[in-house]
Symmetry: C2
Amino acid sequence: IHEPHSSVPSSVSSLFVDAQILQKQIDELSSFSDTTAPSVTRVLYTEKDVLARRYVKNLMGLAGLSVREDAVGNIFGRWVGQEPELAAVATGSHIDAIPYSGKYDGVVGVLGAIEAINVLKRSGFKPRRSLEVILFTSEEPTRFGISCLGSRLLAGSENLVKALKTITDSQNISFLDAARSAGYAEDDLSSVFLSKGTYSAFIELHIEQGPILEEEGISIGIVTAIAAPASLKVKFEGNGGHAGAVLMPNRNDAGLAAAELALAVEKHVLESGSIDTVGTMGILELHPGAINSIPSKSHLEIDTRDINEERRNQVIEKIHQSAIRIAKTRGVKLSEFHIINQDPPASSAEEVIEAMETATRELNLTSKLMISRAYHDALFMARLSSMGMIFIPCYKGYSHKPEEFASTQDMSNGVKVLALTLAKLSLQ
Amino acid sequence: IHEPHSSVPSSVSSLFVDAQILQKQIDELSSFSDTTAPSVTRVLYTEKDVLARRYVKNLMGLAGLSVREDAVGNIFGRWVGQEPELAAVATGSHIDAIPYSGKYDGVVGVLGAIEAINVLKRSGFKPRRSLEVILFTSEEPTRFGISCLGSRLLAGSENLVKALKTITDSQNISFLDAARSAGYAEDDLSSVFLSKGTYSAFIELHIEQGPILEEEGISIGIVTAIAAPASLKVKFEGNGGHAGAVLMPNRNDAGLAAAELALAVEKHVLESGSIDTVGTMGILELHPGAINSIPSKSHLEIDTRDINEERRNQVIEKIHQSAIRIAKTRGVKLSEFHIINQDPPASSAEEVIEAMETATRELNLTSKLMISRAYHDALFMARLSSMGMIFIPCYKGYSHKPEEFASTQDMSNGVKVLALTLAKLSLQ
Ligand SMILES: [Mn+2]
Ligand SMILES: [Mn+2]
Ligand SMILES: [Mn+2]
Ligand SMILES: [Mn+2]
């Protein structure tokens, strides 16, 4: 880090993270929740989401960043560099939280990014390329069934622009009405697209959401690739009827078809033979959902992932074949088998991995190269620029539940690595 | 029917059912619904339930009945007989409708009973024993998980009085608050209890909810016994976690445990070897219910019935053993296995069967002795007095869905049989 135009921190010892402020901010943000502590529930465009966004914009302002919001509520806080015409270096994550989850997933990468900017400012650093903190809209699919909504749009998904014109949530509220109620969607949604030259690199700081770093006592995970996610929506329909009056041979129970398919998902995932293949039925809804009614409709949502795209796609094909077979055997109708998304995996850029590794070494922190099994906005930002991710340990690998936890020390380490990496990439 | 004190209709030909008015009333009542036609959703103590009750009370008044309501909203319309000190003859059913169901279940037995009174009045009949039409509160378990709430209380269930003091619905609204919002629950709930001498007989008119009468082209089913119902609530708990990050061997998925138990219910029911054994998982809820979360909790409600109580109880025991085994195998906790109710079957009284059979014969209608596989308020009224039920055909045996249908002619036949049976029993 001795580039000619550099104003890089003269010594890594000048990088001071105010870990207590960061912890306090994380605790404060968690109070914007629709369920009681320790659980956090913060769903896209709800009142709590709007209040949490205001909180983050305020912190960006206090950090001296100039704030911009786009038509779906991606929020950008920019520290203009000495050569503002160059592609910027970006970092960020999300603050939405699925029902009854925790306070670290995503949040560490947003509040941590703002603190990283503060760290660099306090050190006297002056960026060459601009640095930009991004809060991504709806990384979680909770409300509209679409994960990484904000970053998919930034990466230019025309299909998503089309889908968002008609999509509704489970309460039949349209995406556009929901966005407007939060003060967004005034413009054409394709105004959100960013061109490929906008950023030279994107780095996301995140809790591991797995047990490896904690178990091995390592401070920093340097992500080399993000596993390939796919999600499916499946519906079965039968005749339903009264639970007392319709005898067993006359039934075609959509709920039992769903139960069979859930177990088939598990079976096909295990058949892959690889520890890296996972599959989950996270949603199962029965209609009419009364104790004395045979389910006439069932609705499942299935998530399957692998670091190997082809292997994952084989699992999807097997699930499809099982759904067809179950429908036939049980005399129910497979009224929908929809692949919501089937994204390719992404690899981190070599120069970003190198910058993260160097930063970690200079800070005397232990590190490990690893795979991200969860997916992140970084997966879609990789379509726009070089990408990398920094993982920190979390308690027992827990995530998406109230017990999710990362220590102040680990967060502080992550912020330091992020700050130094941003500084390095800003000078490249 | 030539008893000495009799003012019985001199001829069955004097019994005139105004079938068009009855059909019009059924259509009107179906419009008090929280879902759009042809589906009906009318849940206990909601605004639509209150409006529907007012509609029925008005019809009772127009029929010249004196109307009384008790502390949970059972509604009684009495035609005082010539010997008012004698135990009355009662008839009735329910008007609540599970979500997305139809307009005949229960309703035929309430509006049909009022029309039966009108039939007898028009014929010039004067009852010796008083005749009473009853609208029972919450035959369906939709809101508080308790079926036949009103008739259970009439029959003197101390346990139910106790339970209703603390029970809440899924929105955390207490039974007492809900009842008060509908204008009830001003008195001690045990005020609802009736003594054994109140009625000499109870007859319920109802659609068959099975395909037999329609398939065999028979007009009237004379019920000899009501199958023994039981309902179970089961909960599993696991660690949950992120659908991408937690690898398959580290999971204990409460959703998959529920799926396995649902299939085990089906298996154990089929193992009974009897066509009369049925079992249904009508409710399955997953927590947190997000596509990218492993279910950490599942909640099932299971209904199982048989005309043989012992055989049904064996099925319950097998379901319990399976739940324990599944919890063990999957490393989840079986946090609840609760038998909500486990009622004994009831038989119709010989003298009531005889009155129904004679009435049917005199009216030149075809009839068949049969079992009620669905259960009804009559099951609990059998604890207070002699009991009988009259079934009429319904389209394909459909019930608890919008396609539920009974023809005007079949309803008219049922009302005539009910009227004549009431007349006969009133004179005994
Ligand atoms: Mn998440
Ligand atoms: Mn996340
Ligand atoms: Mn019913
Ligand atoms: Mn009924």
